[in-house]
Amino acid sequence: MDYIAGVWQDTHYQLIRVISMMLRFIFLVILIVTSVLKNVVSGQVPGRDKYQLLTMPFNQRPLTLYRGQLHGSTGYKFAVRTQYYDSEGEVVYLRNTGTGSVYHYYFIELRYGLTDFIELAAETNFLKRGIRSESTTYVSTTLPSSEQVTVNKLTEVKGMGDILLSAAVRFPLEYKWFDLALRGGLYLPSSRYEPQEPSHAVSGIKEENSYTVDYHYNNTNGFGVPVYELSGAFKLTLNKFTLNTGIVFSDPTKEGQNIRWEEALVERDFSYYDNSYSYLLNRTLTIYTSLHYQATGWFDIRLSGNYRKSDGGWTEYWGNKYSNPETRLFTIEPGFELQISPTLIICQNAGFPVKGKNSDAPFYLFTTVRFNMFPFLR
């Protein structure tokens, strides 16, 4: 009996020792898993400080912001539109016909890192441009006194764009050499999209039947309907080189209604009336790829390629729906990103059109100043 009791006691002790070891092991595993999970979820290596995160070079930066990080960007694009791709993809030199123009595009964006792998963003823009049409002089010599009317036409587009609200989620691991992100957003039709009344004028009256008519249309910016946007991005870093590629798809949620101004010229005075029409915006697909070289920690040089295609929309004229032309444009963009201080970054891209169809082909210079901070972190 004593022997049995001894064996039982030994077994009991061994059992307790095994259970104790198992508990220690489980505790250790939980500790390790918790620690790993914490790092995975936060995406940060312990020991990184705010300064390090603010000055993180492009090739070591994930596709979304760090938790608590705020980016405020403001940008200006100056574009010179001197050529156009026609429906056959041939270049039409607008400056030769005196119809070249300039557009000024101002941009503002706010991005905030909700966690290390979720980001919220809001952006809007302001656009200003005037497109001249070819001046035409109509001469009639059939009347007793010859009549000569010169017609100039300018279509001005000016105004705030819609507000895009978006959220992005990235691969929940610390960025080492690759990253994936998905973004979804919606353009709220916040801007005043209906065109303003034209401001046509009659000038240069030399004789009774000779004068100049200046048509001046005042269009606005904005889609007029909600447009959703979905995008995916991929980033791959190999030492100082980084490949960043992505796809952006946008589509209107519904058909829109707008007005079109018509005019009547009586005794050299214009009167205006508007007609409403319906429309469906084109859906747009953009594919971009950029190759980056991190020359030093504060200087990144890049060469990007952008391909943009839009189709599928229509516009109503006199009760009939006419499909919008399919547009395509491929642009090459050399550029750089310069970290001036932990809180200030400057980016600049120059855009050169390479190929396209039914599309303006402007040369542009896009400068962005980015303020970078952790407002709630000391």
Partner: protein, 322 residues
């Protein structure tokens, strides 16, 4: 003996306390100073050379009423200039400047004329180009007051413009087709007074300038048979700038500039052909100082004006100090 040692040490104490260490600047360091920290004139024996490129298109202008308008007829124009600057410090206060530029001007118009009676369409395309050496400028700058801790610098400059650029339309094929002039065709003398104060990492500067244009002669259009005597209006210009270091080698400059030019004369008669003009502009610049190299980018944005272009003027500057 012990006492005298103590007295001696006590006497040395203030000297030890007041002793300062001053960083010795070698010429190589002096040549790497930025637009914020460098003296307003070059130091003796220093030589700087540089290129300035600028570009502007003709899309909008301020009319005679001061309103911003698009050019409404079908027309397109652009102008660019590639200037070379040589600067030399004769003494620590006296600097010589030479500047000349190569200009490229372009104007294109098209008009379609539809004649109803004969049912014909006539398209008139006008393409005018101007390529060549523009006018040259020579300047002498003298620093009356050198900047010290509590005093700003005060500098005077005399600027002479020599009409080295072609002043008349050339290669005339028709009234519409000819090469544009690239020079003003007149001598000019300018006086500039500027002041600057460094409050590191900032510097504040201001200047006033008056330019007197002398009489010259040129053809105002390709249809003119002979040159007409003319005189451009005199020009007053002033500017205020606040510059700051964004880091040790990048400076941001901000300038508000005002210029006013009086009416010109043709054959001693005040004419609308050379109208009075004024402009108020803002010019931010970003200047990178990489050792002795200086790379700058700026844009002059017209804010208000009368009879002047309303499009931004882009400038890129590259300089090297030998």
């Amino acid at each position: 003996m012990k006492k005298s040692y103590l007295i001696y040490l006590f006497m040395l104490l203030p000297a030890t306390m007041l002793c300062q260490t001053e960083r010795q600047l070698v010429p190589a360091d002096l040549k790497q100073q930025t637009i914020v920290s460098e003296p307003v004139t070059l130091r003796k024996g220093f030589f700087r050379t540089g290129i300035i490129m600028n570009y502007r298109v003709a899309d909008k202008y301020f009319n005679a009423s001061g309103e911003k308008e698009y050019y409404i007829t079908s027309s397109w124009g652009s102008t660019s200039a590639y200037g070379i600057i040589l600067q030399y410090g004769l003494t620590d206060r006296l600097q010589l400047d030479i500047k000349t530029e190569y200009r490229n001007k372009l104007q294109e118009f098209q008009n379609k004329e539809i004649v109803a009676g004969t049912n014909t369409t006539i398209v008139t395309t006008t393409r005018q180009k101007g390529l060549g050496l523009g006018d040259s400028h020579f300047a002498v700058t003298y620093q009356f007051l050198q900047e010290i801790e509590r005093r700003m610098s005060l500098t005077g400059r005399i600027n002479v413009t020599v009409p080295t650029g072609e002043k008349n339309p050339t290669n005339i094929r028709s009234v519409e087709k000819y090469d544009l002039p690239v020079g003003e065709g007149t001598y000019a003398l300018g006086i500039n007074i500027s002041a600057r104060k460094i409050l590191y990492p900032y510097s504040l500067a201001g200047y006033i300038e008056y330019k007197h244009n002398f009489e010259g002669a040129k053809k105002f259009s390709a249809a003119d048979d002979a040159e007409s005597n003319f005189r451009l209006g005199n020009r007053f210009e002033s500017g205020l700038s606040v510059n700051l270091h964004l880091n040790e080698w990048i400076a941001l400059a901000n300038e508000i500039n005002f210029s006013d030019k009086s009416k010109g004369e043709v054959e001693s008669i005040v004419t609308q052909e050379i109208p009075a003009e004024w402009a108020l502009s803002y010019e931010p610049s970003l200047v990178f100082q990489v050792k002795r190299f200086r790379l700058g980018e700026s844009v002059r944005i017209p804010l208000k004006g009368k009879n002047v272009p309303a499009d931004p003027l882009y400038k890129i500057m590259i300089q090297y100090l030998f």
